[in-house]
Symmetry: C2
Subunit: 196 residues, 2 copies
């Protein structure tokens, strides 16, 4: 998802500053759709403004830096709609936790327990964020997306709670026998298609 589309989508929900857009994509509701750094957001906003897709006004505020608040224009909305009409790319899920879990026998049970605890905490934080989104009275897309997220994260947390001990036991058994990473038995176990 391009930073451009991400900015337009966020602004379509309401006016925002570059700082707020960044915040939404890293720790807010929009973190489920995309991520963008300051180095990408500000140039994208500048281009969008130059092309008439957004407008910007400056607001002075006491005790804080001057804000530049961006608003989407009608042509910005049309561009967003066009982007949404395209078939969406595949969802992506990247899990440093699972990579560590895959090496559970090598890192050992203590490191593993810490990682599991951190993962639980992350999941709980995500659930808290999702639950903080107000539930709309009328059934619609916002509720649907919110509930989808809550159900999936709840399942993942429940599965982790129910099965973490099993992984810790496996890590404990094998860690006693292994002092450092070596090639796993059955080389290429993870590469059923790879030439070797």
């Amino acid at each position: 998802m391009s930073v451009r589309s991400l900015c337009l989508a966020i602004l379509n929900f309401g006016d925002a500053t570059g700082y707020e857009i960044r915040k939404e994509t890293t720790s807010g509701s929009f973190s489920y759709f995309g991520d963008a750094s300051f180095g990408a957001i500000y140039p994208a906003l500048s281009r969008l403004e130059a092309e008439g897709r957004v407008t910007v006004r400056e607001e002075s505020q006491h005790g804080k830096p001057t804000r530049k608040v961006y608003s989407i224009t009608e042509s910005g909305r049309l561009e967003l709609l066009d982007a949404l009409m395209e078939p969406p790319a595949a969802d992506t899920y990247k899990s440093p936790f699972l990579l560590l879990a895959l090496h559970a026998e090598y890192v050992g049970p203590d490191v593993l327990r810490k990682a599991i605890s951190a993962r639980r905490k992350h999941l709980q934080e995500e659930l808290a964020l999702l639950r903080s989104i107000p539930h709309e009275d009328e059934p619609g897309a916002v509720n649907w997306v919110r509930d989808y997220g809550i159900q999936c994260k709840t399942f993942a947390l429940g599965y982790l709670d129910a099965n973490a001990q099993e992984l810790i036991e496996a890590a404990t058994r094998k860690h006693d026998k292994t002092s450092r990473p070596v090639s796993l038995p059955g080389q290429n176990t993870l590469f059923p298609n790879a030439a070797e």
Copy 2:
């Protein structure tokens, strides 16, 4: 997850070419841990070789280009173990599908149905990939990670199957009343913390 660590982790499972590493991170088992392009993989492998973390040998093969097969060294393994000992970063999940779902009322039921169908297909492909990983006889990390993935994707697919119609109906109701994206009612519904 750095490309460097990703390469080391893959090579720890078995020797591989740059091309194979790229393939694993985009469409193979390692796509759950990280992603990397050719433009990042080759420089990373060059640096790793220069630093003694991997070795490389050339293989001629009839009918195909010469292969450069990379193997991890002992110091490469130690670096990987060090990296794994760090607390893992939070998992990330980015869903262009859910962004489209959030705008279901604006794109309308036809586009939505196509997106749902594509999402189902993606999920089924992921499940097929996970199920293609051989089940090890002895309980351990590989089985655990594999089953974790299978259970979560199966849940997500099941929830989508059970609830997609509800979203389509909401999209149909509201699409009849709306011809283009406008600010959603209750501005900043998604931003309970945002200043506005």
